[in-house]
């Protein structure tokens, strides 16, 4: 993909950047003019389709009692894939519990996610290896980590055309947290190379996004001294283009950007949630018409970038992936209880070692008898 040189958004406001309409029509945009190759379009679709399949399989696994919980990203694939595919390998991402499209793009095997949601471990992967932090569950906390990390990038002198950038994901609900606003301010004051990517999916559990902000969230950043931009969060092309431009601005020392991707949480908040208690089916139906996969599929067909055979192959690949995940999930061993006492510290303490010994002996006492 080629992209015009990074430039700062000149306007902020509520008109969302769009490059692909819900009907699958490619439209131009004066500021976000990315030219994708056919294989780029296909790759983006493939990512979204596979992530959706992972999501469906995980939801099923939870229903069958194999996972303790699952937070579905259904409907948000474009926002996640588009933005995360705009990252370079050295960039660093800070996702939330719902950003399976982000971890996917960072090369994290979905099996690792399942381990976490099954409860066999807490975090799933090595953040340094994948240049992707653990899922943040305490809402908003990760925005400060990302900002600090980005301050470190700048301190390292790792800015410039070959520089590094950081992206952090958070929700519309999170925008209310003090931490998120503090991170906006630190990022601005220190001109940290960080992109704040807010997926406004309409809901924070049962609360509509109007309960979090009276004005579009993208307008928040101006008062902290950096630009904010709204993007159609169900348009993977626009998400890619806008994120890429913001990342490039960050890596070349132009400071932070806030991106509000307007999307919709098509599923429940998590598998524990029952959205019929608080929102209308009609709302969901209207968003189905804006489905991020459908519109790209329509475009691929219409432009003859992919044909039925290609989609069938992809389905096959997705099924295979789902089968593998299921098998790996079911075969995950429960953790060894005595490991519970390990890695609390990098340098283990004597007292915790004693607790561990005590508990190991206690467990042994059952085997003896």
């Amino acid at each position: 993909m080629t992209i015009s040189p990074p430039q700062r958004p000149t306007t902020s406001g509520a008109a969302a950047v769009q490059l692909l309409t819900p009907e699958g029509e490619r439209v131009a945009h004066p500021d976000y003019d990315v030219s994708f190759r056919d294989q780029d379009y296909r790759a983006l679709y493939r990512d979204m389709a596979l992530v959706r399949r992972v999501d469906i399989e995980a939801t099923a696994l939870q229903r069958q009692g194999e996972l303790g919980l699952w937070a579905s990203c259904l409907g948000q694939e474009a926002a996640q894939i588009g933005s995360a595919r705009a990252l370079r390998p050295d960039d660093f991402a800070f996702p939330t519990y719902r950003d399976h499209g982000v971890t996917w793009s960072r090369g994290i095997d979905p099996t690792l996610l399942l381990g976490q949601f099954r409860g066999v471990k807490l975090g799933g992967w090595d953040p340094n290896k994948h240049r992707c932090a653990l899922y943040a569950i305490v809402i908003g906390s990760q925005t400060l980590h990302a900002t600090g990390y980005a301050m470190g990038v700048a301190k390292d002198g790792a800015l410039g055309d070959d520089g590094e950038a950081v992206i952090v994901y958070f929700g519309d609900g999170a925008s209310s947290q003090g931490d998120v606003n503090e991170s906006f301010n630190f990022a601005s004051v220190f001109q940290a190379p960080v992109v704040f990517f807010c997926q406004n999916n309409g809901w924070a559990i049962s609360e509509p996004s109007e309960r979090q902000s009276r004005v579009p969230i993208c307008e928040r950043s101006a008062g902290f001294g950096f630009p904010g931009i709204r993007v159609d969060g169900n348009d993977v092309l626009a998400c890619y283009a806008v994120a890429r431009q913001a990342l490039d601005a960050a890596r070349t020392g132009q400071g932070p950007t806030l991106i509000e991707a307007v999307t919709y949480r098509m599923g429940a908040h998590t598998t524990s949630d029952d959205p019929t208690r608080y929102r209308l089916q009609a709302e969901l139906e209207s968003w189905k018409l804006k489905d991020p996969l459908e519109r790209l599929k329509a475009f691929l067909y219409r432009q003859q970038i992919a044909d039925r055979g290609w989609f069938q192959d992809l389905d096959g690949e997705a099924d295979q992936l789902a089968r593998r995940l299921r098998a790996e999930c079911l075969s995950m061993p429960d953790p060894d209880p005595v490991t519970m006492f390990e890695q609390v510290y990098e340098e283990q303490t004597e007292s915790l070692e004693a607790e561990q010994r005590g508990y190991a002996d206690y467990l042994l006492s059952f085997e003896a008898s």
């Binding site: 471990k121 609900g173 947290q177 559990i205 519970m340 007292s351 006492s365």
Partner: protein, 328 residues
Amino acid sequence: MSTTSLSLSAAINAGLRRAMEGDERVLVMGEDVGTLGGVFRVTDGLQKDFGEERVIDTPLAESGIIGTAIGLAMRGYRPVCEIQFDGFVYPAFNQIVSQLAKLHYRSGGSVKMPVTIRIPFGGGIGAVEHHSESPEAYFAHTAGLKVVACSGPADAFGMVQQAIASDDPVIFFEPKRRYWEKAEVDLTPGTPLPPLHASAVLRPGRDATLVSYGPCVQTSMAAAEIAAQDGLDIGVIDLRSLSPLDLDPVLDAVRRTGHLIVVSEAPPSASISSDVAAQITEQAFYSLEAPVLRVGGFDTPYPASKLDAHYLPDIDRVLDAVDRSLAF
């Protein structure tokens, strides 16, 4: 006396309802407490019945929730704040510890802070990180707060009303893994209640005493029953109030049994269990035939949920401690 079978969640709901009916200055506020009725349904139906002005879905910001509740209390309201899970109370820590706890003292008594903070706490529900914590010691260590923990429906119904009626700030802990367990609750208005800050002897015992609170009370009761089959007569005391502590019944029991085990699932370091042990030892030194033993969680973060059963004190671990105490 007529009673109704209610889950803990429903009993607290009934208590909230009663409090809201009795005093129109009582407000309920928090994340998802309105239309949804809370993720544990504790506030179910309240917004429908009392309106959006009294049952408030707030923005997602715990410091904001407690901070504005303080302002509402200054205005004469009695806010009941829900913190969605134990692990999410920390963003509000500053407002709780520096403001809510201290405003009465700082103002020389002229400002009252009738704020209740409800916190579902503890593990055992197979949750992901940050959803299974036991932060009660942080609050019990904080002068100016009152801290209570209910252990079952019958008690919780009254306790939550008393907490709301208190002119002092009360942190109200609810054992989330017991939310769906039912018991008979006496809903008769005007039924006399034990004081909010009194511990309760649930079961007298001659051989040793278990003292506990919140989710582990039931574990302790079950352990005592098993022990009874082995011919051991073990008493159980539910602390109910974690600050102030009501240790008189515990002292009484220790004077008779000489053996005390404190059961809680919090990490033991600098915990409420430590404090009970220290105080009881100070006040009943010569009655103790063994040191006060503490059965708890461990000094680790709450582990991955598949380890729930290992982290949480269970009947076996309680009985093991009883054996160790008696063998001392």
